[in-house]
């Protein structure tokens, strides 16, 4: 809570300190973005991994122009997907009985540098973005077996660093179109979840329950990373 308060104080201090131009004086942008990831093997929320999957992340962004070249922003993101329905160990191929669903919520603070090309004035034009964020993941089993009245099976948090390249265009002095490519690196990107998983997450003899342990979290963390590590962004927003 303390951190959140400090963060908000800093954010509003930035707003107060800025007295910059923006686009015709409009400095705020409220934007919806869809981050699209094309995956060859990872499943989407509804599709198995056999097919080419398209992973979507939905994001609500609020940006504020603080100088001719800089914009600060907050992004709140969310996605739902399946963790995996197939995995491999070194010598066996095992299958989850049914998809394990992952719902993730992210919050990110970012700074956009409109310095790629000298002529662009923030918030318009080409930019590079650097951000830090936090992800909250919830794992649920939608088979119903362990649903326990929608109480998540497992919750975990992950930190992320992000970098992006993009271009913002303005139409009719109000409408913003934002396109680009974004990369994210999460803290659990290198966890060897499949190896840990082997011992725990298997159908029990009776075939009626899962074992949840840390290895599931690791496995889900890696899935989260796979979902967001490279995405193409298309956003539509309003200049205020």
């Amino acid at each position: 809570m303390k951190k959140i308060i400090i963060f908000h104080i800093l954010f509003f201090l930035c707003l107060y300190a800025s007295a910059q131009s923006g686009y015709q004086g409009k400095k705020f942008i409220v934007q919806y973005s869809s981050l699209i990831g094309f995956r060859a093997s990872n499943p989407s929320f509804s599709q198995s991994s056999e097919n080419m999957g398209i992973n979507y992340t939905h994001s609500l962004e609020i940006d504020y122009t603080i100088s001719r070249k800089h914009t600060i922003g907050l992004a709140f993101s969310n996605f739902r997907t399946s963790v995996a329905d197939e995995f491999e160990t070194t010598n066996t191929s095992k299958r989850l009985p049914s998809a394990l669903k992952l719902t993730a919520y992210g919050a990110e603070f970012n700074v956009k540098f409109t310095n790629k090309n000298p002529g662009f004035i923030a918030p318009m034009g080409m930019y590079q973005k650097i951000g830090v964020g936090i992800w909250l993941g919830q794992l649920t089993d939608d088979s119903g077996t362990l649903k326990m009245d929608s109480i998540p099976v497992k919750q975990f948090t992950d930190f992320a660093l992000s970098y992006g390249l993009g271009k913002r265009k303005v139409y009719f002095d109000r409408l913003v179109l934002d396109m680009g490519v974004h990369f994210s690196l999460t803290s659990s990107y290198n966890k060897q979840s499949t190896e840990s998983y082997e011992g725990g997450l298997i159908r029990t003899e009776g075939g009626e329950s899962y074992t949840t342990n840390d290895s599931i979290e690791d496995f889900a963390g890696k899935r989260l990373f796979n979902h967001i590590w490279i995405t193409f962004k298309v956003g539509v927003g309003l200049l205020l």
Binding site: A19, S21, G25, S67, R68, H70, P118, G119, I121, G125
Partner: protein, 772 residues
């Protein structure tokens, strides 16, 4: 009293009153200004003129000819507009009115045709006139300044009218294109023969204009005796309007004499370069108005008879052709003047005064001095002309002191006639002495004006600058100068025997005399130093720190640049006048790269966009832009013209790295007062569609073949057009001449409305943002 006597008395009194009044006009002459309503020719859009031109194309023409004509109408419509907005084409002025009155007399019998022709005087010193395809005839003041009678002007106008009547401009263009393409009868011709063919066709048109112009002229009441002199005038048009010995006393003052060494014993005889001018006189194409006039006089040589590759027949050949046609025709009942002779003389005088100023503004200082010298022969006390001389001397001194004289000066060797003396003097005179001469000229004039209670502010700045230079480059202390006149006369050593013929003692004596002679300039300020005002001014200029500010280090410069880029400026300006913002659209993928019509539309949209963003940013903006004038805004057009001239001078000064004071301080003050701001801004925008290089296309395909995900980038790259755009903004404080703010952005993106809005708003915002 007899009524006739009363009438005569009143008339005589009127003449007595009017004459001095007219003379008084020239005493404090003011250059011609634009006023009243702006003519339709200026206000109509070029795209409309182009559309109108296209409708006149004959449908039965071959496709290629139609295309050529379309191209002609496009280029000429926009080219003419550029000339009209150059600020040099006059309207509602007495000279233009006078020229139109002569045309009225010429075409008295054909009033319907007369209505098609519009004549304008042009502020240019070159002896030239040009006609456009849509009936505009532009007559340079340079031409009027050399004419000897109204009839001569009528003959030149008759020639130009025929160019219009016979559609020579478009016909010449179509034929030239045909020759260049090597079509039809030109198919088998070599390169040289094609040039010759073009030249011959052009000469045919000129001859036709001469002969048919003569027919038109003969129908009028103008005397044919005047015609032959027209060609003689054109033949020597590269020379000043008169040929009078340049007296050295013109630039001598009490305690300041000029050495004979600075003057040539004999000047290059007139005529040796006359032929070179033949080609430049009477241009019927719509090239830009060349306002530097005969600055390159004498640089080309061409035999009088060798007009083989020229666009015009030689003047002498033209003269012969005309004379043979008029031989035997009587001038009985015909006149030199159909309007009062006085009007012609006055108009010519106006033209000559204007040219003195034009030379000054065009940095042709020696010509300005000699031209003013000729006019001062008639009226030695004329303030306007003496100011032109003072300012010319000042500018030359500035360039001299900064060792950049040759940026504005041509070698005396290439000159001919008496004006050569001025070039020689400028070249041979040492910097310090020249500086002193300019100072004394300006100071004496200012003193004289002050005595008449009409002190001039321009001269005030000129004097300060000259004193600043004198204290910086030559005499930092006033004590260097003698305050009493010399006791003994210093003999002139100019005509001494050769050095080798002198004995040792003679040489020592000669050196002593030379030293004394060099010291003579130290007596130059004897009288001035008795004037407390001069002394105070000298001390003030001497006390200014002349060491240039320490330059920033490279790191500091980079840091400063970055700071400005991120934070922008805070200029705290409330009001700005935007002068002639320009928009150009170019398509490098096409053969015809310039997108004229699109540029004009973009220009119109830009005017609106600028005003919209000014309003949003809180900056008060006054727009002086083409395609934005109303009919009754002639005075604003005057400001527009002046400011365009001002900025072009500024660019030249920046190029030459020699900064001069405002040479028309009065007008500058008037503008600041009128618009309530000293800040004037020039903006330019460009949108360019770029041609992608074939190698980059191949490379992108090649890499995508090996790494297919790159197709995501390759496909848009291959199939979407590529653009670049630029935005330039220069904000000047016209009072100080200082460049207050500059911005140049080159972007690899399309010049979309949002990009323009973003940039323009940001520019205005930086200007308006209050200082911390």
């Amino acid at each position: 009293m007899n009524p006739l006597n009363t009438l005569l008395t009143v008339f005589t009194l009127f003449l007595l009153l009017v004459k001095p009044l007219q003379a008084q006009d020239f005493q404090n002459y003011k250059p011609i200004k634009f006023s009243g309503s702006i003519p339709e020719d200026f206000l109509r859009l070029s795209s409309e003129k182009y559309a109108l031109g296209k409708t006149s194309i004959d449908k039965s023409d071959k496709a290629i000819e139609k295309k050529t004509k379309k191209k002609f109408f496009l280029e000429s419509s926009f080219g003419i507009q550029k000339i009209l907005y150059s600020g040099k084409v006059l309207f509602n002025d007495p000279v233009t009115t006078y020229l139109n009155q002569i045309a009225d007399k010429l075409l008295q019998q054909n009033p319907a045709f007369r209505k098609e022709i519009r004549i304008y005087a042009v502020k240019s010193a070159s002896v030239n006139a040009l006609t456009t395809n849509d009936g505009i005839i532009l007559v340079n003041l340079g031409l009027l300044s050399q004419m000897e009678s109204e009839a001569q002007i009528a003959f030149v106008l008759a020639h130009e009218i025929i160019h219009y009547q016979k559609k020579h401009v478009i016909n010449g263009y179509v034929e030239t294109q045909k020759v260049q393409r090597g079509k039809g009868v030109y198919k088998e011709l070599s390169f040289d023969d094609r040039i010759l063919a073009k030249s011959n066709y052009s000469k045919e048109l000129e001859t036709e204009a001469d002969l048919e112009g003569l027919d038109l002229y003969l129908k009028s009441d103008y005397s044919i005796d005047e015609i032959q002199n027209v060609f003689d005038i054109l033949h020597y048009a590269y020379l000043p309007f008169d040929e009078v010995k340049f007296e050295k006393s013109f630039l001598e003052f009490k305690n300041f004499t000029l050495s004979e060494e600075y003057f040539l014993e004999s000047v290059n005889p007139v005529g040796s370069k006359a032929e070179s001018y033949d080609d430049s006189v009477d241009d019927n194409t719509n090239n830009n108005v060349n306002n530097r006039g005969n600055q390159n006089r004498g640089t080309q040589k061409e035999s009088n008879d060798d007009d083989k590759y020229s666009t015009h027949p030689s003047t002498m050949k033209r003269k012969e052709a005309i004379l043979s046609k008029i031989s035997g025709i009587s001038s009985h009942g015909k006149k030199k003047y159909l309007m009062p002779e006085d009007t012609f003389l006055k108009m010519r005088k106006v033209a000559r005064f204007e040219i003195a100023n034009i030379y000054l503004m065009n940095q042709q200082y020696e010509q300005a001095i000699y031209h003013s010298y000729l006019l001062l022969k008639e009226d030695s006390s004329n303030v306007f002309l003496r100011k032109v001389v003072a300012k010319s001397l000042y500018a030359l001194s500035r360039y001299h002191n900064d060792s950049k004289l040759y940026d504005v000066h041509e070698s005396f060797k290439s000159m001919e006639g008496e004006s050569q003396q001025v070039y020689h003097l400028v070249e041979k005179m040492p910097k310090a002495e020249f500086n002193l001469m300019a100072l004394k000229y300006a100071w004496n004039l200012q003193k004289e004006l002050k005595d008449k209670a009409s002190k001039d502010e321009d001269l005030e700045y000129v004097i300060k600058d000259l004193l600043y230079d004198l204290t910086k480059h030559h005499y930092p202390k006033r004590s260097s100068f003698f305050s009493n006149p010399p006791v003994e006369e210093i003999p002139d050593t100019t005509h001494q025997p050769e050095e080798k013929e002198l004995s040792k003692i003679d040489k020592i004596k000669k050196n002593k005399v030379q030293h004394k002679k060099n010291d003579m300039i130290l007596y130059a300020l004897v009288d001035e130093l008795k004037d407390s005002e001069f002394v105070a001014l000298y001390d003030e200029m001497a006390s200014i720190d002349k060491n240039p500010k320490k330059e920033m280090s490279y790191q500091q410069k980079v840091r400063e640049k970055k700071r400005k880029r991120v934070r922008g400026e805070r200029l705290g300006i409330d009001k700005v006048v935007l002068v002639n913002p320009l928009y150009t659209k170019v398509n490098l993928k096409k053969k015809e790269k310039m997108r004229y019509v699109a540029s004009e539309q973009a220009q119109i949209d830009l005017n609106k966009l600028l005003l919209k963003n000014a309003q949003k940013s809180g900056l008060e903006v006054k727009l002086l832009a083409r395609n934005n004038f109303e009919v009754n805004e002639g005075e604003m057009f005057e400001d527009f013209a002046f400011l365009n001239q001002w900025i072009s001078e500024k660019f030249t000064e920046v190029d030459n790295e020699v900064i001069l004071v405002n040479l028309d301080e009065e007008k500058v003050r008037e503008l600041i007062q009128k618009y309530k701001t000293p800040y004037f801004c020039w903006m330019a925008f460009a949108g360019v569609r770029v041609k992608k290089s074939p190698s980059s296309k191949v490379l992108s395909i090649f890499t995508s073949v090996f790494f297919p995900p790159l197709l995501l980038f390759t496909i848009p790259y291959l199939f979407t057009p590529q653009y670049e755009s630029s935005h330039l903004c220069l904000l000047f404080n016209i009072q100080t001449g200082e460049l207050v703010f500059e911005k140049l952005e080159n972007m690899e993106t399309r010049d979309s409305d949002s990009m323009l809005n973003s940039n323009v708003y940001d520019t205005f915002y930086q200007m308006n943002r209050k200082k911390k």
